[in-house]
């Protein structure tokens, strides 16, 4: 079993590897992940966050070390999948995007969409949300996003998340990582037994979910003239289902796996 590490603790790594010498070939085989920091002065690898220490061998002679921990403030890393909120336009060339309230804004170039050209630009409004990949992140430069799959040049599932779905925030970022990356997680599987849904999980703590057909705003307007009651009933059910799903996903964050069924039952009891 992995152990709990606090900032300042000695890492259970072989000493020769930690005191890495830049000229020593053997020392270059360590990759450090989140929670670890290589001190500029002492050249030592130190833990900077409290969490569970994990070490993995990627290849022979290549070790990956990181600290698995939870936080609520998202720090962008390249290749993360995130949900961003459009908050403005910068210089007519790119969008200003917020990944989390009060965090530094990031940039989404208008060219970073499939088939985008100078003439054919995406048309996004303030307040709309996009599913995107962090294409460039670092401390010294502004973080950039793109809504394009770099290998195929197609949308690859990225792009605008339309208004038929609901967006909500999850405080624990480790929980969103679990939902997105752990294929064995039963949380969403259990949910699928109660309703049909489409979901987009951003590991910046935002989740977009659409249950059933979601909100169908256009249909509403058309049929408003000849009696809207039937239509609104439909959408009323989907709203209820969506809110129940949101409640279920949010509550699972604070409970152990054996209670998931119970929470599901509770959340969907009125439907």
């Amino acid at each position: 079993m992995s152990e709990i590490i606090l900032p300042g603790d000695k890492l259970p790594i072989h000493r020769a590897l930690v005191q890495e010498d830049p000229e020593n070939e053997a020392g270059s085989n360590i990759t450090i992940g989140p929670g670890l920091y290589k001190s500029i002065n002492s050249k030592q690898i130190i833990p900077t966050q409290a969490g569970i220490f994990e070490s993995k061998t990627i290849k022979r002679h290549e070790q990956l070390y990181y600290i698995e921990s939870n936080s609520s403030r998202y720090i962008p890393q390249t290749n993360d999948y995130v949900i961003g909120v459009i908050t403005g336009v910068i210089g007519g060339e790119s969008y200003k995007v917020s990944l989390q309230d009060f965090s530094n804004p990031v940039i989404l170039s208008m060219m970073a969409f499939p088939n985008a050209t100078k003439k054919n630009r995406p048309n996004l409004q303030n307040g709309q949300i996009v599913y995107a990949r962090v294409s460039n992140a670092g401390n010294e430069i502004e973080t950039e996003l793109e809504c394009i799959d770099p290998t195929t040049g197609k949308d690859g599932g990225f792009g605008l998340l339309d208004e038929s779905g609901f967006l909500f925030n999850v405080k624990s970022l480790n929980y969103t990582r679990e939902l997105l990356f752990n294929p064995n997680s039963t949380i969403l599987e259990k949910l699928s037994s109660r309703c049909k849904f489409e979901i987009a999980i951003g590991i910046n703590g935002k989740i977009w979910i659409k249950c059933g057909d979601g909100l169908n705003l256009n249909k509403m307007e058309v049929e408003d003239d000849n009696g809207s009651s039937t239509v609104s009933n439909d959408s009323s059910k989907d709203i209820k289902v969506t809110l129940a799903a949101v409640k279920y996903i949010t509550q699972c964050q604070h409970s152990s796996p054996d209670q998931f069924d119970n929470i599901l039952q509770q959340s969907f009891k009125d439907i």
């Binding site: 307040g127 977009w208 909100l215 705003l217 009323s236 809110l243």
Partner: protein, 310 residues
């Protein structure tokens, strides 16, 4: 720099659509309040409380000292409420800078409690023109999830009811006073004349037509919600704050801009509010009563009382 919460179009449309279907995103009824939870009444201090109301969390402390009264009001004690909101509650509140919202919150709490004379200031007088009690309430907002006004007002009233000031004796023919230690003599509760309860209703206009919103011609589309949470607070088109007490008196009523409200709605709201006012007033009373009872048994005051009765 804009320290504000970004609300997305998805949340907004979903919220409005849900309202049209009679659903609140938090699953409550339109006129349903959250119930206060985790109420903590300090056992070793008088006048200190903490409470949670949904995710909103506050703490409130009452303190007192003796000072000279104001020249023009020699018979009256002094009563102040401090409520500064800092970025702990939510990052939308800047430290050391009073935003309009913050000023509004503290003004209304002040208006509801201090200016309605809910605390009997004359009973705080010790020697007229010389010595009076000065009572200060420090209201701290720890976490923001909407409706600071109602919760703050409730918290202050609960803390005032919980507070006791040390007993005093006047000696030397009114020249000097002795402040008795609280362990030596049972301290005295404050004289509270009535308990004001604030209720905030937020208004939403679900009609698509902005023109009509402004003119207020589409009353049937107006929806009002009681005790809104932070998301509902961000999306509101207007609000009205009614302060009432159990005697069915309206203490204050404020409506700051936003969409116009029909008179009939206002009357309905006031009448409906009575139910909540009674509930909350009774809650304060039972909480204090239970707490007194508990303190009584724990400290074994019964023995003392027997002594006093004899």
């Amino acid at each position: 720099m804009s320290r504000k919460i970004e609300i997305t179009t998805n949340e907004k449309t979903y919220f409005i659509e849900a309202l049209k279907n009679g659903i609140r995103l938090n699953g409550r009824q339109f006129n349903e309040m959250r119930t206060p939870s985790n109420i903590f009444l300090s056992k070793d201090e008088y006048g200190y409380i903490e409470l949670e109301w949904g995710l909103t969390k506050i703490s409130c402390r009452v303190s007192s000292f003796i000072r000279k009264p104001f020249e023009d009001r020699p018979f009256e004690g002094i009563f102040n409420i401090n409520c500064e909101i800092n970025s702990m509650a939510s990052k939308q509140f800047e430290n050391g800078k009073n935003s309009d919202e913050e000023v509004l919150i503290s003004r209304i709490i002040e208006k509801s409690i201090r200016r309605s004379n809910s605390l009997d200031l004359e009973s705080l007088c010790i020697i007229s023109g010389e010595k009076v009690w000065s009572i200060t309430v420090d209201l701290n907002f720890l976490n923001f999830d909407g409706n600071f006004i109602d919760i703050g007002c409730f918290g202050v009233m609960l803390a005032l009811s919980h507070f006791k000031k040390p007993d005093i004796t006047i000696i030397n023919g009114g020249k000097d006073i002795i402040i008795h230690d609280i362990n030596e003599r049972e301290p005295q509760p404050l004289s509270i004349l009535h308990i004001p309860i604030c209720l905030t209703y937020s208004f939403y206009n679900t009609s698509q037509n902005v023109e009509e919103n402004i003119k207020g011609e589409s009353d049937e589309d107006a929806i009002y919600l009681l005790d809104c949470d932070y998301k509902e607070d961000l999306l509101k088109d207007g609000s009205i704050i009614i302060t009432l007490n159990k005697n069915r008196e309206i203490i204050q009523l404020s409506k700051n801009g936003g969409i116009p409200i029909d008179v009939n709605i206002l009357l309905d709201l006031s009448l409906n509010s009575i139910k909540f006012v009674n509930e909350l007033t009774d809650l304060i009373k039972t909480l204090i009563k239970d707490h007194e009872q508990q303190r009584f048994t724990e400290l074994n005051l019964k023995l003392l009382q027997v002594g006093a009765d004899r």
